[in-house]
Point group: C2
Chain length 437, copies 2
Amino acid sequence: MSEKKRRQPNPANRAAATAASFSASKKSKLPTTTKTSSHAHSLRSQLKPDSEILASLQKLYSEHQKPAKAKTLTLTDLNLTSKCRVVSDLDASSVSLSIERVVLDIAHSILGGRGFSFDVPSRSASNQMYVPELDRIVLKDKSSARQFANLSTVRKATITSLVYGVLERNIHVTKRDLFYTDVKLFQDQSQSDAVLDDVSCMLGCTRSSLHVVASEKGVVVGRLIFTDDGDQIDCTKMGIGGKAIPPNIDRVGNLESDALFILLVEKDAAFMRLAEDRFYNRFPCIIVTAKGQPDVATRLFLRRMKTELKLPVLALVDSDPYGLKILSVYMCGSKNMSYDSSNLTTPDIKWLGVRPSDLDKYQIPEQCRLPMTDQDVKAGKDLLEEDFVKKNKGWVKELELMVKTRKKAEIQALSSFGFQYLTEVYLPLKIQDQDWL
Amino acid sequence: MSEKKRRQPNPANRAAATAASFSASKKSKLPTTTKTSSHAHSLRSQLKPDSEILASLQKLYSEHQKPAKAKTLTLTDLNLTSKCRVVSDLDASSVSLSIERVVLDIAHSILGGRGFSFDVPSRSASNQMYVPELDRIVLKDKSSARQFANLSTVRKATITSLVYGVLERNIHVTKRDLFYTDVKLFQDQSQSDAVLDDVSCMLGCTRSSLHVVASEKGVVVGRLIFTDDGDQIDCTKMGIGGKAIPPNIDRVGNLESDALFILLVEKDAAFMRLAEDRFYNRFPCIIVTAKGQPDVATRLFLRRMKTELKLPVLALVDSDPYGLKILSVYMCGSKNMSYDSSNLTTPDIKWLGVRPSDLDKYQIPEQCRLPMTDQDVKAGKDLLEEDFVKKNKGWVKELELMVKTRKKAEIQALSSFGFQYLTEVYLPLKIQDQDWL
């Protein structure tokens, strides 16, 4: 069907023609499509046969398939294990075990007359650092022993015990559920959420290992087969809506794919366009979006795909500081969950577009380029100070251009060349030219 | 698997016990679970065998299956067709046709020396009314002829022509895409959105007939099989994440189900609980949520299920004015899309819970009942003035109780009795007692 669609004439021209017949006397009011379709057409003509475009993907793909020459560094390689606090994915029984161990330690401490206390890790900004070799934020090992008298210790005890019950039952719960088990104790959810993060630090396991999940927003479609709680999901048969990404990653398994890359999309409007045009049939790929700010479930899912399938990840985000900020969350993690960055982050995501330099390169019409507010510009300048940007010369240049021109543009701005310009011209051309950073 | 889970002991007690061993000296700080588990247990013991609970569902189900005695009224029956403006679902070719008809009319009007003008329907509040017989808001027929000189006419011409192109191409686009075809003309998206609604009024077809879709948020899981753009989706095999509801309803088809009812859930936390426990295996149902405010895609999907499968709809929302407001959007539609209320609304949704009277009935702990703000109370009082509430005595009583006690509670408040209390006790008991309004 997507084949059929692609062979039909460009709707933009058709629409524009109709519009012309409507508002002949108001030239300046014509849809942008007519004014720029000539240019859009010229770019279209630059497209080589799909076989040649696929070749450049094949190249990228095989680079990612071959075992990395230099093995990926760990905190151990950098002798940082003693200086950093990291958590790992543990199965339910191991987590239960380490909870029981904590309880025992406490018993000993009490019998030893040292009272009831927890060793509480500090997750303050001052206790976090970016490790360039790892290209992610990690948590340092500063921590303090809190006496039982301390309310936060009671909160930890409670959360820990509740988690123990959840694991025993082999179910999953939300942060909101945990909060509601004792509203009086936690007062507001930010409290129980924070305690929860402390507890996973303390137990040295990921939050997903505690079977506590956040609500998921992400959807996936394309060349991927996986099991969700035992059900086999074929993402080439998920229509246009796609498959909702499961909140509990530990119930996800058996990933299989014949895709050449993963296309990470910021917004669901672009996702819908790609899904309806079955872009993944023309260029074998897995298309995923978190519909804006990435949620934990989508970040875990992306990492699983990247590591298990060894696929390159190409990102399509708005050309504004927030588009890049979103990329940074996928790549380096967010500060408040730095202790879990090794499991949540997906290194080496390529910035495919929409990039500031694309605005001129693809002659995005002036009125589709929005002026950046002072706040936008500040956000852009702040990003230029971030290590993960600095280490990528190409990104620095693009960001500098954005801040200089003070112009931003959304992915949807490409609709000004016709609604399917994204899937029929922009993306194929980008891939053909291997135009990613 | 859900079978297995159900047979295991209540995690709340287990967790509470562990907590007790932790914080023995701090009784008042114990999770609520211990304090109330005795009551929770007494309710659990009231549960009859599933076969008897299913019987009450079977009864509800068959009531909905038999053809309605009094055929559902239409505007025609009420002689309101001349006074109201309604739209209907049209296929692409019919819409294209009516667009061409509009163009012809305009041509005639020009040749007749009457110039280029549109008949623009008014969608102002003053032009809307609630029709009790239909139990929904409808748009009255006030409209005004606008001359071409008028900017809004140019906008309509442009949108209409773009839609024409979209239909010709047999694709779907988002409102955002439409806006970006001519940012200069529309200035901001609220403009192009409004024009879009005007155009569907003018053409007498639904917005989905124009192939313009909003982004979807909804997910569905349970005893439903349907096709999404030709792909067959079996919602009993969608794991815990569920299937994302497609943005374009016209690509949805072939609905089949052996469910006895549809369970409409306000929040995704409750959805996840129900999905993980495979509630639909114990009580055959289709579980759907829009994750908060209902989006158009989910509303259309719910209506399709209700009308094609003739299933009763039971709603699980927070016990606060917004929970009920959300119900009202599903049932009576939102004011700004009143012209499409017949296609967007699902009449006769039963309010299962959480209802204000449940707070005492299920002894929801005090600290899980949140005080209503003055704004909440006002929202509650406003609802008492709404016709769709007035016509349901039971709802009025519940709302009056809410406003009187000034207490609200979320669905998650039930977690204070154990995380699976919702699926194992609360819902089965509600269904067993046919406790819906």
